[in-house]
């Protein structure tokens, strides 16, 4: 190659472009790197030949924008291939079963609720994965809301533990009594998280119903989502109201309120166990694939 301005800038540009191609997944690069560099080289030569440096700059701007968008798309597609696998459904289902057991144990308080929420993320992922991309935007929105809701509840639990935790229930009660408004805010945010998780699950359930991706107990995710939403609302009614009026909701704790909350925890537990069992047992079952679309 001679040392003309075109040859120099072409050589530098191709080298930079080749480096930038690392933005694409490795498999994609293996197949198309040579062709993409070839196309870029030809395009650069033509742009420079027709319009000089401004043409080369224009080509670079266009190519760079194209690279950013398409590399991101390829990476997302690559990840979604891993996401929609029987292995995710199986292990997410198992996590969901353990989550259900912990939900039932969490009726009596303690750290079980935190673990139940974390393992519940596995259940969400399994349910989304089972839809194998056929849940569409509804399924994706449900999955995203489920994650947001779970993270919100976990964040509130962590925040609450730094302010109200104590070695005994008496000390916890005392700390809540001292700052009822703050405790009320925590309860409200936590309930909002539960409702968001519930709506997410319900949307995932609707997407599963619509796409017919579950072989059994098709209404279970929707029912579980509604139950989560009801639980969030129950907690607001039982705990937030008295706290917002400066009263500790533990004192006096209505027995029927305790029974209601405990029943909801048990039902939630059974729901997550049922969801996990269903997902784990039909992880390998075929989902009817629609004809490929939108290349």
């Amino acid at each position: 190659m001679n040392n003309s301005p075109l040859a120099n800038s072409l050589s530098v540009s191709v080298r930079i472009y080749r480096v930038l191609l690392v933005a694409y997944p490795e498999k994609f690069r293996e197949h198309y790197e040579t062709q993409m560099v070839q196309v870029f080289r030809d395009s650069f030569r033509e742009a420079y030949h027709c319009n000089g440096v401004p043409g080369a700059i224009d080509l670079w701007l266009h190519t760079f924008a194209d690279l950013l968008v398409t590399a991101l798309m390829e990476r997302i597609m690559e990840r979604s291939q891993y996401m929609f696998s029987p292995r995710v459904v199986l292990w997410g289902g198992v996590a969901s079963v353990f989550s259900g057991m912990l939900w039932m144990m969490s009726a009596s308080g303690g750290a079980a609720g935190v673990l139940a929420l974390v393992l519940g993320l596995g259940g969400l992922a399994a349910l989304y994965s089972r839809q194998a991309g056929q849940g569409g935007k509804l399924g994706l929105a449900g999955f995203a809301l489920g994650i947001i809701g779970t993270v919100l509840v976990l964040a509130v639990l962590w925040w609450g533990s730094t302010i109200f935790s104590g070695p005994t229930y008496a000390i916890i009660h005392l700390r809540i009594e001292r700052q009822p408004v703050l405790a009320g805010r925590a309860v409200l945010m936590g309930s909002l998280g539960l409702v968001t998780l519930g709506i997410g699950l319900a949307l995932l359930g609707l997407a599963s119903l619509r796409s017919k991706t579950l072989h059994r107990w098709r209404g279970l995710p929707l029912g579980l989502g509604l139950l989560n939403t009801i639980q969030g609302i129950t907690i607001v009614l039982l705990a937030y109201e008295p706290l917002s009026q400066g009263r500790n909701f533990f004192d006096p704790w209505p027995p029927q309120g305790y029974a209601l909350i405990a029943t909801e925890f048990v039902l939630l537990g059974l729901g997550w166990i049922g969801l996990g069992t269903m997902l784990a047992t039909e992880a390998e079952a075929q989902v009817a694939q629609p004809p490929p679309a939108s290349a």
Partner: protein
Amino acid sequence: MDETASNPKTTLTPAAFHILLVLAGGENHGYAIMREVAEHTQGKMRLGPGTLYGTIKRMLADGWIEELDERPDPQLDDERRRYYRLTGVGRKLVQAEAERLEQLVDIARGKKLLRNPRSA
């Protein structure tokens, strides 16, 4: 396979449609496809290498196009180039899309939205 072309859920992105349209005229390689698309659209659609090969990858996977084992004329061309051609499914798909667009143009014509009516 034919279901793909007739299925109402099968939608073509503009890039995919233009690439299929170019390949409807015969086998071609990436850079030539890119140039022809730009010519067809008077430069309004410029496919970058990422869009071009990302779309080609998906169309190959869906069986709409296929890669040629041999270059049409090895003497005249760079051996690194890969050539692509339409499959039967791809041809039906681009035909169906062109007919759909034709119907839309007819509707637009009926509503006198087009300045230059087509000579019969």
